[in-house]
């Protein structure tokens, strides 16, 4: 009984740690989106009349760049709220 409790505590603690470490992937999209936004600002500065098209393209590119960050978010949410590892114990 006590052993199972200890095992559960270890799994839960390490899952929380894993979720935190997994969210380091948020770095990448942040840098990428910031770079895209900077380039978008440059493009608007050079060609203000095309700002609508530039914003649209920028948002599309940023959304695609965001995918990896969203994957890590989904994994972190899984580890926190629908942990598949804790079910292996019982």
């Amino acid at each position: 009984m006590n052993d199972l409790l200890l095992a559960k505590a270890i799994v839960l603690g390490l899952s929380a740690l894993g979720a935190g470490i997994g969210m380091i992937a948020g770095l990448g999209p942040g840098i990428g989106q910031g770079y895209a936004a900077g380039k978008g600002a440059e493009a608007v500065g050079r060609q203000p009349e095309a700002s609508g098209k530039i914003t649209q393209t920028m948002l599309l590119g940023q959304a695609v760049a965001e995918t990896t960050g969203i994957y890590s978010l989904v994994i972190a949410l899984l580890l926190l709220f629908a942990n598949p590892l804790i079910r292996l114990l019982s």
Partner: protein, 225 residues
């Protein structure tokens, strides 16, 4: 904190979740709203004065058609009904969190369903414009051994679209519920503007935009050859 999807009631033995109820609610509101708003178009004679509702409907439909024409070209207009419906549904579904409902898009089933429809549309367009043989040949380009990679890249399109929408909306929902636990009064107003209004509208736009881009990429091949 619980972010699981609640089961509202059972229909026989099938569980009916919150998502299904909210989705049906949105569908009823949108369908009845469109029927009421366009009712006078059928009976109006030329020269009749139209009301405010009709002008708003015309403005929205004109805007959507122009947006689709700019993105996909004139040939894209035959997809306009599906794409406009998708955009309107997604905007309403993402914003319904403001009324206290759980957004249907914070459920992986909804987003995967929508992404599957878009996937079938993309593949169907590709199949139609290139023909069966051209479609199969396209999967083996540029080399024969690239076939598995091409298949994976085709399948990963709807998966990433579904996860993007789901992750954004659910992430906003989780952060908002954490914030409500810490500071329930007044402070959550401003994050609501970002997470629900801005993020919701942007994600609805992105989903439809990606559908349009992939569909026009699938149908573009024909014009070049």
């Amino acid at each position: 904190m619980d972010i699981g999807i609640k089961t509202m009631f059972y229909l026989g033995r099938i569980p009916i979740t919150e998502t299904v109820v909210t989705t049906w609610l949105i569908m009823v509101v949108l369908v009845i709203g469109s029927m009421v708003a366009t009712r006078r178009f059928r009976t109006a004679a030329p020269g009749d004065k139209l009301g405010t509702t009709e002008h708003v409907v015309e403005f929205v439909v004109d805007g959507l058609y122009q947006f689709i024409r700019e993105t996909m070209g004139k040939k894209g207009l035959k997809f306009a009904p599906y794409i406009s419906t998708l955009l309107i549904f997604l905007v309403v579904a993402n914003l319904i969190g403001l009324l206290g409902f759980r957004p249907p898009t914070a459920d992986l089933n909804t987003t995967f369903g929508l992404a599957t429809i878009s996937f079938i549309l993309i593949q169907g367009t590709g199949l139609r414009s290139k023909g069966l043989w051209g479609y199969i040949k396209g999967l083996f380009e540029p080399f024969v051994f690239m076939f598995p990679l091409n298949v994976i890249s085709e399948i990963s399109t709807p998966v990433s679209m579904a996860f993007r929408l789901f992750g954004n909306i659910l992430g906003g929902m989780v952060i908002m519920s954490l914030l409500y636990g810490v500071a329930p009064i007044l402070i959550p107003v401003f994050p609501h503007v970002y997470f629900d209004l801005f993020s919701g509208i942007i994600q609805a736009f992105i989903f439809t935009m990606l559908t349009m881009v992939f569909v026009s990429m699938a149908s573009d091949e024909e014009e070049e050859n």
